[in-house]
């Protein structure tokens, strides 16, 4: 099955008895769940709850030890890799290149060759595409913004963001949360793993609570726009 088979009503992610072991330690324990498209999910939980591991498994960076997963209608993550955006704990950027050079390279990996795409992605996160400073000289907040630009530049349907606000000041974090809300409003599905849940409250659709490698609760939020309707 290819990714194009997925319709608007189909879940974006279906997890079936997902287990991930590191040696004898089970980081994910028998997770069975599904997630609808066009929503912004905020994954919260204590350190070691399995949030980042879940995201890395969904992104295809780790293989599950047991269980299966369907992503955008496909059981093979590589088949739908061009429809997924991933932002890791680390910035996933080259320190020796400037912002545009970084984005140009990563755009090339997705078959995009126009500078306009990179410029738009940089502007969308509030950075200056003309800035010639190398990423190694960026502040932590600028790196995180550029990392977000890298994750969204190929216009993915599913975005997996691991701690996008770590080491970012509150003002920049709020700006980034607003950007994520706008992206979700365009019909994209977003997963944000964060310890700063209050930042996401204004834009989140659902909070996914994890503990000891399991999803223990899902809490649907009522956003102001929905409340007004």
């Amino acid at each position: 099955m290819t990714g194009n088979d997925s319709s608007a009503d189909q879940p974006v992610i279906v997890l079936q008895n997902l287990v991930k072991f590191f040696g004898r330690f089970a980081a994910l324990r028998d997770i069975t769940d599904s997630f609808a498209p066009g929503r912004l999910y905020v994954v919260v939980g204590d350190n070691g709850a399995g949030k980042s591991t879940l995201l890395r498994v969904v992104a295809g960076l780790m293989q599950p030890s047991q269980g299966s997963m369907t992503l955008l209608g496909s059981q093979n993550v590589r088949d739908v890799a061009h429809r997924i955006g991933y932002m890791g704990h680390a910035p996933l950027l080259y320190d020796e290149l400037d912002g545009m050079e970084n984005l140009r390279y990563f755009a090339g990996l997705y078959g995009l060759s126009h500078d306009a795409v990179c410029r738009q992605a940089i502007q969308e996160v509030g950075l200056d595409p003309e800035l010639e400073r190398r990423v190694g000289q960026y502040s932590q907040g600028m790196r995180q913004r550029l990392s977000l630009a890298r994750a969204v530049l190929h216009n993915p349907e599913l975005m997996l963001l691991d701690e996008p606000f770590s080491n970012v000041d509150v003002h920049s974090a709020r700006d980034m949360a607003t950007v994520l809300g706008r992206v979700r409003d365009q019909g994209k599905t977003i997963f944000v793993v964060t310890h700063q849940a209050p930042l996401m409250e204004p834009v989140a659709d659902e909070f996914v609570h994890m503990a000891a490698g399991q999803i223990v609760a899902r809490e649907t939020m009522r956003r102001p726009a929905e409340a007004a309707r």
Partner: protein, 224 residues
């Protein structure tokens, strides 16, 4: 996106980063320079003796120097976990491998070009055989070193002491290529016979190991 376009853009990106940092080329040059100078003081050979031992000296110097560059190959991809950005993209894994191998090939060829005149001066080298054959040996031998080196450097990136691990894996598997490189170089320098057997062996070695590395690289890249 095609394999060739990703290979080209990754190679250009690596060359640009190396041009800015000069991490690999500087350390390789310094290392080879030390080997040339120290060996010339230690042996002080005549011109005839030089022709007999130069093949071994040259290739051992380049092999050790290449390891310095090979260890840097994946270091940039591990910093900030940039390799994850490649792994989640739809870009073909082999394009990354080919770009890295070609980049290392270029770096080592530049090193060889810069160091060759020094070997000639320090060891009073005059080739009795045709010099163009030395160029062929250098190109084939360099590819033999870097294709395996790039692959095994990728294999050792998740190990704790990868700087030590790389030569431990690379040197034993490079012995047939090294033997062919040293013997063909000595044959050409001294003019005793033809190096055709060793050249054929280098071609076969290059083809076999390039194919094996390409076949296995995706597994190595995604290993946990």
């Amino acid at each position: 996106m095609s394999q060739s376009s990703v290979t080209r853009s990754t190679l250009l990106k690596d060359l640009r980063m190396e041009w800015r940092s000069k991490d690999a080329i500087n350390s390789m040059l310094f290392f080879s320079l030390l080997v040339v100078v120290i060996f010339s003081f230690a042996f002080n050979p005549t011109a005839e003796e030089s022709r007999q031992i130069a093949g071994g000296l040259i290739w051992v110097a380049f092999l050790f120097a290449a390891v310095v560059a090979l260890n840097q190959t994946w270091a940039r991809e591990l910093r900030n976990q940039v390799l994850d950005a490649y792994r989640v993209s739809p870009a073909p894994p082999n394009a990354l491998f080919l770009a890295k191998a070609l980049g290392n090939f270029l770096f080592v060829v530049i090193l060889e070009t810069l160091m060759a005149p020094l070997f000639v001066v320090f060891y009073q080298l005059r080739s009795v055989g045709p010099v163009w054959q030395l160029v062929v040996v250098a190109l084939l031998g360099t590819w033999a070193l870097v294709v395996n080196g790039t692959f095994f450097a990728a294999l050792s990136i998740r190990t704790r002491s990868r700087e030590i691990m790389l030569p431990l894996i690379l040197f034993p598997i490079s012995i047939p290529a090294l033997l062919a490189m040293v013997d063909s170089t000595t044959t050409i320098l001294t003019g005793d016979g033809t190096p055709s057997f060793w050249l054929k062996m280098l071609v076969v070695y290059d083809v076999v190991f390039t194919l094996v590395c390409l076949l296995l690289f995706e597994t190595v890249l995604n290993a946990e």
